[in-house]
Structure formats: C-alpha cells, structure tokens
Amino acid sequence: MSGHHHHDHDHHHDNHFTPIEARVKALESLLVAKGYVDPAALDAIVETYETKVGPRNGARVVAKAWTDPAFAERLKADGSAAVAELGYGGRGGEHIVACFNTPNEHNLIVCTLCSCYPWPVLGLPPVWYKSPPYRAKAVIDPRGTLADFGVTLPEGQRIRVWDSTAETRFIVIPMRPAGTEGWSEEKLASIVNRDSMIGTGLPRVEDAL
C-alpha cells in the first residue's frame, strides 16, 4: 500500500468528497465565515426534520379525527387550528386544510409546480413526491398514478386531486377501515401510513401494532 503513496500528492487524499459534497461544504463554510448562518441553527434544523417532525404527527391527527367526531368537525372547519390542538403547525404548514375521503370521493395531493407538502404533519416529502413523474401525472391521470402505488379505488368512487399552488397545505384524512371498532387512538394511528395521508395509499389494518 505504501508503495502507492506519494508525498507530493498528499493533498489529494484530503479531497475525498464528490463534487456536490465539496460544493455544499464550500457553501456552508463560506456562509458561516461571513456570519450569515449559525452552525448551531443548521444542526437544529436538521434534527427537527430527522427526529421531531414526521408522518407520525399526521397519523395522530387522523386517529383523533376517527375517534372524536367533534375534533373531526373542527378539523373540517379549520385545519390549522385543529392540528394546533395537538401541538402541530408552523413552517411549511401555516395554512392546513384537511381533505376527508368518503365512499364517493378519494382525495390525492400533489404540487405540480414544486414540492409543497404539509411539513408539520407529514415531515419532509419523499423523493417521488418532488420528482417529475408524480408531479406530471397526478393531475392528468390520477387513477394511473394510484396504480403505480398498487392502489385501485372501488368502482364509482370519484377522485379529487388537490394541486398545492399556494401556501395552503393539504392532508388527506382516509376513511377508517372496517374491523377497527373499539381500537385505541394509538393503535389506530399505527395503521395510518404516510401515503394514506397524501392519497397514494390506504390505511393497512395488518400494520397495527
């Protein structure tokens, strides 16, 4: 191994970053050195979206809506105020609207222009949500889009697509599956997966904890 080691080229060994990693490191160093960003703030932002804010928040909202009809009514009337009762809100979800699935209509959320997504209740969006295939297809072929997720809606259930073109953020409230009567809110929340709150999936009773 030492036979391949040339002292003249030692500096190359420090440069083991890919071009994009190097660019991002350069940008971070520069902004910190110029006093524009606080490194502690960067870490706190990452920590928030890695550990504190995610689809478990939304699942709690759905489970409460399933078990507390008065909460469901408040959620219909003012989504932001209702999710704030559970402590959720803020950046990327200042104005939340809850879209309730019914036997007659299934809701599907998209942002054709970028990646708008209800951060406080679902966290950061998955890559497919932000990528061209989904953003292009959801509005023109919503049933074909659901088929890509292995979801087929019952005959006669209409489909309603919500394109998030403003600061309003949408969360789908799926229908409570049969066979969950008497379950606790916590157990109900465990079957509410992320995709069921985007509309590309359905709750799965077999996921129950």
Partner: protein, 219 residues
C-alpha cells in the same frame, strides 16, 4: 414563467417509482442544503416566492436532470449572488474574499424551534371584500408571464367553480420580483377532468388549484 418546474400534464417520465422504506435524506450533503436554505431564507432578504423563482429559472434540461436538493443548492447559490451576499469566486473557494453584507437577521440555534413552530403565516388584512363567493362560476385568465406565477399552464383559460374562500394571502407574482408585498383573495377553484384535459380525461376525476383573485374572471 413557463419553466421546467411547470410539470402538470407532461408525459414521458414513466411511472412513479416509490422507494420502499425511503430514508428522510439520501446523503449528508442533502441535510446541509436543506438547513442552509432554511437558515439563509431566515435572513429575511428574499421571499419564499423569490426562492421558488430562482429554482424555476434553472434551464429546463438541468432542472429535469438535477436531484431535488441539487435544485435547491443551485437556487440558493443564485440568490446569495444576486443579493450581493457572496460572489461566484467565494462560492468556488469556500472562504470570504469580500466583506460580509450585514443581513437583516441571523437565525440562532436556540431560536430554531420557536421560529419553525411559528412559521411565516401568509394571510393578511383584506384591503377589499372578496369578489367571488362559494359556488360562483369563474374562468382563469390566459397569461404567460416571464416572472414567477402560481397559475400552472394546464389550468389557464379554464372554467371552474369556487369551492372555498381561503382568505387574503400574499400575492406571489409580485413578491417573487422583490416588489413590495401585496395580498389578494385566495380561492380553491375546482375543474372537471374533461374541462382540463378534454376527451382524454377521466370523467370521474376533478382537480382543484389555489387561485389568487387576479387570476380569475367571472365565467
């Protein structure tokens, strides 16, 4: 603008490919780009709509081939340069050459939870009553501005119905250009699939968009 970002109804991208057990980030640098974008945005030197415009101004061939956080990185770098906070040379070097331009604010680590929890509400005092009410038939205007707009191409010149009056919200088209903030009534407008896509549409589908008042005329 009719940039690479306006994707609704385009074809040829193939199926949506969900990733099983997708991680929140796919690389360390993605975390830093997210955090840098949020923290730099918190300096208060540009609006969220200006940052959207910076991203959609990336040439379409690049926009469609970049990963999401590559788009964010390009947009943020561009904003920092155009607002005079860094120079292209400094971006390449990773260290300051010119004196800093003092920003309006710097987000401190200790303030992050409160700032994220508070967010940046976009509703404003209404300067006038809403022109439209729930149930009104409306038509979106046809326009092709070179600046940022939130009226997607597929929904221009289309007839729909007001389903919801959301409130008076910050108007992105002007805010994205660095002009003084204005606000307009914002509505949810629903269109049938056939109105948007003609004979190729799924007749049992409908699509709504969020529409500012100046995008609308009575049908």
């Amino acid at each position: 603008m009719n940039g690479g970002q306006d994707l609704g109804g385009q074809m040829g991208f193939g199926p949506v490919r969900p990733e099983p057990d997708e991680p929140i980030f796919h690389a360390e640098w993605e975390k830093r780009v997210l955090a840098l974008s949020v923290a730099a945005g918190a300096m208060g030197q540009w609006t969220i709509d200006e940052s959207r415009h910076a991203r959609e101004s990336i040439p379409p061939a690049d926009y469609l081939s970049f990963s999401y956080y590559q788009i964010w990185l390009a947009g943020l770098s561009n904003l920092l340069v155009t607002h005079g906070f860094v120079t292209p040379d400094e971006l390449a070097l990773g260290e300051p050459v010119t004196a800093p331009r003092p920003p309006k604010r710097v987000l401190k680590g200790a303030d992050v939870p409160a700032v994220l929890r508070r967010g940046f509400p976009f509703e404003r005092e209404a300067p006038a009553p809403a022109k439209f009410a729930v149930g009104d038939a409306v038509r979106t205007i046809v326009m092709h501005p070179t600046h940022h707009t939130r009226l997607p191409r597929y929904a221009r010149g289309k007839s729909g119905v007001i389903e919801r009056v959301t409130g008076c919200h910050v108007f992105p088209d002007t805010g994205s250009q660095g002009l003084p903030e204005t606000a307009q009534w914002l509505y949810t407008v629903v269109f049938t699939g056939p109105e948007l896509w003609g004979r190729d549409a799924d007749p049992t589908s409908s699509v709504s968009i969020e529409v500012w008042e100046s995008y609308l005329e009575p049908a």
